[in-house]
């Protein structure tokens, strides 16, 4: 296939399709759960459940760090997971080229990161992703919990980070457009894959952490 034809395909029809499926898919998954509804709770709350829900959604990602002994046993999970998410989300939104994409999609101009930070985030995200994957393969608990989905998703994301890194670093050789197209193709696949996999956990994060915070607020517990 001609390079530009391929390139235009992965950033044109395929990306549009993927984005539509993505937005429809995640909102389907979100509302499929939301519309199941809740029974009323008549017990008098001891704290403010709603405030707590919001607070939890904001601070929960760092909460694990307060668990001394768990943190020390699972440093890989906490540090790796944190770095990976920070990197992945940072790169997804604030890499200059991606910010343009988001401007196109949601019409909001996002701030962009300088390349040094982009590099740091890419390396740390890629490194922590590899560490997390190895950990998955070796830890007995994770072995029991992990399915093919996780490995596939990790591989896909790792390849996206890797091709993105190459596309950014590569100079000369005329391969740039192929690297970029591969990066975009894989990203399209990821966008398509998210609504059908556990990768859509980011929408449920708001629900489950929200509920957790709501319960905590109800019971007057602050952690």
């Amino acid at each position: 296939m001609k390079d530009v034809v391929f390139y235009d395909f992965v950033r044109g029809p395929l990306l549009k399709f993927a984005l539509f499926v993505f937005f429809a898919g995640i909102s389907y998954r979100f509302f499929r759960v939301v519309f199941l509804g809740l029974p009323a709770d008549y017990a008098k709350p001891k704290g403010n459940p709603y405030l707590m829900a919001v607070k939890k959604i904001i601070i929960k990602p760092t909460m694990g760090w307060t668990f001394n002994e768990i943190f020390s046993r699972r440093a890989i999970n906490f540090i790796g997971g944190f770095l990976f998410h920070l990197g992945f989300l940072g790169l997804t939104f604030f890499v200059p080229a991606h910010a343009l994409l988001w401007k196109e999609i949601i019409g909001i101009s996002l701030p962009v990161m300088p390349s040094l930070i982009v590099d740091i985030l890419t390396y740390s995200a890629l490194g922590s992703l590899i560490a997390l994957t190895l950990h998955r393969a070796l830890n007995p608990v994770l072995k029991l919990l992990t399915g093919k989905d996780e490995y596939f998703a990790n591989l896909l994301v790792a390849l996206i980070l890797f091709t993105g890194l190459l596309a950014n670093k590569w100079a000369g050789g005329g391969l740039y457009i192929w690297l970029l197209s591969m990066h975009m193709l894989l990203a399209d696949l990821l966008i398509l894959y998210i609504p059908f996999s556990r990768l859509s956990h980011f929408v449920y994060y708001f629900l489950s952490v929200g509920f957790m915070g709501w319960n905590a607020g109800k019971r007057g517990v602050s952690f």
Partner: protein, 346 residues
């Protein structure tokens, strides 16, 4: 007959100049340095090659660019290095005599002449959209290409159809390779191509007697092997995430990357960033305007000239996002309703 070396000598160039020039040409056509002795020998003895230059649905921009070559001065190219037997924009005779000149050149240099084509060809309705001397362009092209030693398409129109081929392609314009399906065509795309690139490709062919190494789209690898982005002097700004977002901002003054302004450098294979234009003086990016990819097939129809490459081809926008979310929510609502009904959840 006079060899190129004699021409050099006559023009006051020294043998060192000559060798340096040959070295440049050798590297330009992508031969290893070991080829140099052969090339010198070839140049010292080869007669002037005959060129027939046809113009169809064109704007003469490629011809203009050809006579803007600076590595070899156009007067030398036209009078010394090449024998341009037919070129409508430059030749002396008109009408019958012009046609006669072409016919004679084809006769006399059968299988030896180089055919250069500028402009797309419209075979639609028997070619009424472009006739010369009462003949359709398709017929003229087929006639002239029959005995050509080498066929070169210059400019994006001849290579890919170019602007006449842009949506909705009113005249059914075609690249010449679609007419000459059984022939090999060397493509030198660009709107127009760089004059030096055209001259180097043609003279390089004369020198080596071989056509240059081509990529899968028939372009000389030497000049079209890398993207503008690969060799752009503003690339460090791209890597550093520094972009100009308007022609009037500080970034534009400081020479930041023009990616956000729609630069197509990353997907455009051409030599603008290395050879540059009009004596290596500048090229569009250096003068502040994003590359719009004029050497790539169908670049006119890719997207709005100034829309950045990373955005969705054809646009997406929040309306489609909302549509997606609406579809998803409706499905979610329906699904939850059915689930609750079927499973008796209160």
């Amino acid at each position: 007959m006079h060899s190129l070396y004699e021409i050099f000598k006559r023009n006051g160039y020294t043998r060192r100049d000559f060798l340096r020039y040959v070295a440049l040409l050798v590297s330009a056509v992508g031969f290893p340095p070991s080829f140099l002795p052969n090339a010198v020998k070839a140049l010292e003895s080869k007669p002037k090659p005959v060129v027939i230059w046809l113009e169809f649905q064109d704007c003469a921009g490629c011809s203009e660019s050809f006579i803007r070559s600076t590595s070899l001065l156009p007067a030398d190219v036209l009078l010394d290095y090449l024998s341009l037997e037919y070129h409508e924009t430059l030749m002396a005779p008109s009408g019958l005599q012009a046609e006669e000149a072409k016919r004679e050149a084809i006769e006399r240099y059968k299988g030896e002449y180089i055919l250069i084509v500028e402009g797309s060809v419209s075979p639609k309705y028997k070619g009424v959209y472009c006739t010369i001397g009462g003949k359709s362009n398709e017929e003229i092209l087929k006639e002239a290409s029959k005995h050509a030693r080498l066929i070169i398409a210059v400019g994006s129109c001849a290579c890919w159809g170019g602007i006449p081929h842009a949506e909705p392609n009113p005249t059914g314009a075609m690249p010449i390779s679609e007419i000459l399906k059984d022939k090999k065509v060397v493509h030198i795309p660009g709107c127009p191509p760089i004059g030096d690139v055209m001259v180097a490709t043609i003279v390089g062919f004369v020198m080596t007697g071989r056509e240059p190494a081509l990529d899968n789209l028939g372009r000389p690898k030497t000049f079209y092997g890398q993207t503008i982005h690969d060799r752009c002097y503003r690339r460090p700004f791209y890597n550093a995430g520094k972009f100009a977002s308007s022609f009037e901002d500080e970034g534009a003054k400081k020479g930041y990357c023009l990616y956000k302004l729609g630069c197509k450098g990353p997907i455009t294979r051409n030599a603008c960033a290395t050879v540059r234009w009009n004596g290596g003086l500048s090229f569009p990016i250096q003068s502040g305007h994003p590359c719009f990819g004029c050497s790539e097939p169908d670049f006119w129809d890719r997207s709005f000239l100034y829309s950045p490459l990373s955005v969705v081809e054809g646009g997406f926008g929040w309306k489609k996002v909302l549509a997606g979310i609406a579809v998803g929510s409706a499905l979610g609502l329906g699904s939850a309703y059915i689930n609750k009904k079927l499973r008796g959840v209160k």
